[in-house]
């Protein structure tokens, strides 16, 4: 019981810490690519603290305030369904398919809150976010099916266990892994898929009216989001890890490759992003799926 409570407290904090560390590294990394010195490495912590401790917060209504709270609650819930370093936590209560929908709870909260801010920029941002989600969901479900068929289970902890000793899905399902990377990348909304926030077009989209502690919550949620998406990829294709350090190294490797793409690409048009996902990632994922089916 004590162990359970301990895990329940430590797991989200750890996830937050990992996500936050990625945010920190990214600020510095991007600055160096752009030949700037960049802020101090712990700048995101300062940002979050400053926002949370602001004295003047504005709210457009109850749903506006609930949005970030639901978003964080959904993200914390997802953390418990992703096995990390031998800990299975709640994977027995919901499998991979359930996780796909559990991950949507947070986005739903975000969408509701943004909608209640009564600003068309926010609405356009959500419309774009959902459209983009529809785009990357098609290849995502195909690779999820491929992985489930490859290991004859949808239980994430079993999938991780089957990849022990270096039998990673990356080697057995290379095509799915590549698509999985692209999809994870799209889900994180980095360039060229940053159409949701697109500051020059819709003034940061869903976040346009958020400030103060609300925005602080959304930044915390972003840290969780980074963790959840990348950890899921590591569990599905890089075989999870037996301890937290190896897990962190694997996650960081994935994130590092993502950062390299991030700063050199322009932005897609919304419909072109969907078309992109429904074209090459889908075709490649289908080829991989057929290989699994035939095998």
């Amino acid at each position: 019981m004590v162990k359970m409570i301990l895990i329940a407290i430590v797991a989200p904090l750890l996830a937050f810490a990992i996500g936050l560390s990625f945010m920190m590294i990214k600020r510095k990394f991007v600055a160096r690519i752009q030949r700037r010195y960049g802020p101090t490495i712990i700048q995101p912590i300062f940002d979050i603290m400053k926002l949370l401790l602001k004295e003047d917060n504005i709210s457009h209504g109850i749903i506006f305030s609930l949005g970030p709270i639901i978003a964080i609650a959904g993200s914390i819930l997802s953390v418990f369904f992703i096995p990390i370093a031998g800990l299975n936590m709640l994977t027995g209560s919901g499998d991979l398919i359930a996780l796909l929908y559990i991950m949507a709870i947070g986005s739903l909260g975000m969408a509701l809150g943004a909608g209640d801010s009564a600003n068309p920029n926010a609405s356009i941002g959500i419309s774009r976010a959902l459209t983009l989600m529809f785009g990357y969901d098609l290849p995502l479900v195909i690779i999820v099916i491929s992985v489930a068929l490859q290991y004859h289970t949808t239980d994430l902890s079993a999938i991780v266990a089957a990849q022990a000793n270096g039998h990673w899905a990356l080697w057995s399902l290379p095509l799915s892994a590549i698509v999985g990377f692209v999809v994870t990348y799209g889900a994180l909304g980095e360039h060229p898929f940053d159409i949701i926030t697109a500051p020059h077009e819709v003034a940061t989209g869903p976040m346009v009216e958020y400030g103060g502690k609300h925005l602080g919550f959304l930044m915390i949620n972003h840290a969780f989001h980074l963790y959840v998406e990348i950890a899921l990829f590591v569990d599905l294709f890089l075989g999870g890890a037996s301890n937290i350090f190896i897990f962190y190294i694997k996650m960081f490797a994935v994130f590092f490759i993502m950062m390299m793409f991030d700063e050199v690409l322009p932005r897609f048009k919304i419909d072109d992003a969907v078309r992109f996902f429904w074209k090459w990632p889908t075709v490649v994922a289908l080829i991989s799926l057929i290989i699994v089916l035939v095998k």
Binding site: I58, S93, I105, D137, L138, E209
Partner: protein, 628 residues
């Protein structure tokens, strides 16, 4: 106890007549009668919870016995019918305005539809089934045309397609009668077991057309978007939540009551270990899911959006039922119940909005969350359930269908099912955003939440989405027990979900909801500790330096998914309706240009026809009955 079956069947019909007569006395008499009798039916239905009764003979026709029966599967649908009807009667009292039209016959039709649907699910032979099927079609037609001018055309389309379906069913029933001389379900099953594959396929296809018209499976869905959106607000949930489930029920009876997976597998080739007939049905259902989802995303009318969503969701029901595995069929049946709950809820909530604002055009609405918070919360639960997000009920049944397809390795169908669910996020968000979020137009500043009589049914359904989501075992109790009677292997389940081994993974919804609740409370507490926020008006808003005033329409609502529309442009252009309209035009041309030459409308021409026919007939008689 068995006599009660007949009483239960008679209750709504008697109630309908009494409501009609009572309405002549006073409208409150009518309300009282309608509520009492629909409640009585609901109570009587509970007597049969998990009870199996075989063969109560209540008459005979053409030498075939007319039989009533019940089993847990029938009870599931009986529960949907009686519970939804009761709630809809209550909602109608608040919603239907007296001065607009006389409502005596409205309540009569409402109870008659309920009675007819009870007859369908209790039928033990095809004559009873067909009789009540026809009563249901006609009475629901009269309900649809209560919605005003446009609804007459929609109702016309509905009844014509229903008649086509009914004829097709009738031919199948006649074929069976000629072959079996009895239309009792058990006899039909034995006859089919000893028939050729061609006969079986024809019977199932002809019956299936009837069911598919009712269940609005593509390509026979074209009546649904018009009828469900033009019908009065309380009738739409009855149509979408309950009536289309009769098609699914009929399909279940034909596929597993008359046939069985083994039998079907013996007489026809199999694909993915599914008999090809079932496989085709699965594909039709999956196409319905995807195409209807795309269409729902592009709608600008709240009820039309929900109507297309119904086509898509009934696709899941049929897809589940057609999988032929225990898990899939159980998922399909459970989704029938869940869809009745959340779609009934959504239609009623939208009905409440229409009641207060008088419009269902999404781009005219907005910001109502501040004026109608209770309706908003209920609708929110409804869309979460529809989108299949845990911990509400739509998630569990969809999860079962996904797992069943995954177990059978029917990956392409599974991909389509997933896509339909993701697409559902798009259109449900559009629904709640355009009605309740965004800027509140000035004309709706004095809107209030709907009266308590309309709140109650909405909230009963809203709470049900939570109950059946967290405790799927409640429904599984009935479904698994009933499916055993149809020869399915029972699946393992618990009150809170499914243990390891039933599907490819485990599910325990209570844990998901408990952790979500704790995480929510933790985040909320942190939120409350931090300094309080100040409420600002909707006009105090970022507008790139502009000042937002009530006159400025500062809202993004029309063409919400315009950019997505560009992606699926080529799909949207496909129109089944155009093919049908082509045939309608062809029939018109045939009538106008060719038949008009014969039927001129001229008395002399008709007289000359009579003379010609009489002459020929006389000649025939004179020639001793021989013309050639």
């Amino acid at each position: 106890m068995n006599i009660l079956l007949e009483i239960m069947l008679a209750t709504p019909f008697i109630g309908g007549l009494l409501a009609f007569i009572g309405g002549k006395v006073h409208r409150w008499v009518r309300f009282a009668v309608a509520v009492t009798f629909s409640f009585l039916t609901l109570i009587e239905a509970f007597v049969y919870y998990n009870v199996t009764i075989k063969g109560v003979v209540w008459g005979s026709l053409f030498g075939s016995k007319l039989i009533l029966q019940t089993n847990p599967i029938s009870w599931l649908f009986l529960f949907i019918v009686t519970a939804m009807s009761f709630l809809i009667v209550i909602f109608s009292i608040g919603d239907m305005e007296e001065d607009r039209i006389k409502l005596d016959s409205y309540y009569m039709q409402l109870l008659f539809v309920e009675g007819a649907m009870i007859g369908i699910v209790l039928a033990g032979d095809l004559i009873t089934f067909f009789m009540f099927w026809e009563i249901m079609s006609w009475t629901s037609y009269f309900l649809i045309i209560y919605g005003g001018k446009k609804s007459v055309a929609a109702g016309y389309k509905y009844i014509i397609m229903s008649i086509i379906g009914a004829y097709s069913m009738f031919i199948a029933i006649a074929m069976l009668y000629v072959k079996a001389h009895s239309l009792v379900y058990a006899d039909v099953a034995t006859t089919l077991a000893h028939s050729s594959a061609t006969f079986v396929v024809w019977t199932v296809v002809l019956l299936g057309i009837g069911f598919f018209v009712k269940a609005a499976i593509m390509p026979l869905h074209t009546w649904l978007p018009d009828a469900h959106s033009e019908a009065p607000s309380p009738v739409s949930p009855l149509l979408s939540g309950v009536l289309i489930k009769m098609g699914a029920y009929g399909l279940f009876i034909v596929l597993y009551g008359f046939l069985s997976v083994q039998l079907a597998g013996n007489i026809m080739p199999s694909v993915f270990s599914t008999p090809i007939l079932l496989y085709i049905i699965q594909w039709l259902a999956a196409l319905s899911i995807v195409l209807a989802t795309f269409l729902a995303i592009m709608q600008e009318d709240a009820k039309r959006l929900l109507a297309y969503s119904s086509i898509s969701q009934i696709g899941y029901v049929v897809l589940g039922i057609a999988t032929g595995t225990s898990l899939g069929v159980a998922g399909g049946l459970f989704h029938a119940l869940n869809h009745a709950i959340f779609k009934g809820l959504l239609f009623l909530a939208v009905g409440a909005v229409i009641y207060r604002t008088g419009t269902r055009n999404l781009s005219d609405l907005g910001g109502l969350v501040k004026k109608m918070p209770y309706t908003f919360t209920a609708l929110l639960l409804g869309i979460i359930a529809l989108a299949g997000v845990p911990p509400l009920n739509g998630f569990v049944s969809k999860w079962m269908i996904y797992e069943a397809l995954l177990q059978k390795k029917e990956v392409f169908l599974l991909i389509m099912a997933f896509i339909g669910s993701t697409g559902a996020f798009l259109y449900v968000y559009r629904l709640i955003h355009s009605i309740f979020l965004g800027q509140l137009p000035k004309k709706y500043e004095n809107v209030k939440d709907v009266p308590i009589l309309m709140q109650v049914p909405i909230w009963v359904l809203a709470v049900s989405t939570i109950i059946f989501g967290i405790f799927p075992g409640l429904a599984m109790n009935v479904i698994v027990k009933g499916m055993k009677l149809f020869g399915f292997k029972p699946i393992a389940y618990t009150l809170f979900g499914f243990p390891q081994g039933t599907a490819m993974g485990a599910l325990k919804v209570i844990n998901i909801s408990a952790v979500l609740a704790i995480a929510f409370v933790a985040a909320w507490v942190l939120f409350l500790i931090l300094s309080k926020s100040r409420k600002v008006s909707q006009y105090d808003n970022y507008a790139a330096g502009q000042v937002v005033t009530p006159e400025l329409k500062y809202n993004y609502s029309f063409g919400f998914y315009m950019s997505f529309g560009r992606v699926i442009k080529s799909i949207l252009k496909l129109g089944i309706e155009r093919i049908y309209n082509y045939w309608v035009d062809a029939a018109k041309i045939f009538g106008d240009y060719y038949m008009r030459r014969v039927y001129t409308g001229n008395l002399e021409t008709y007289n000359s026809y009579i003379v010609i026919v009489v002459t020929i007939a006389a000649a025939a008689i004179l020639l001793g009955g021989k013309l050639w």
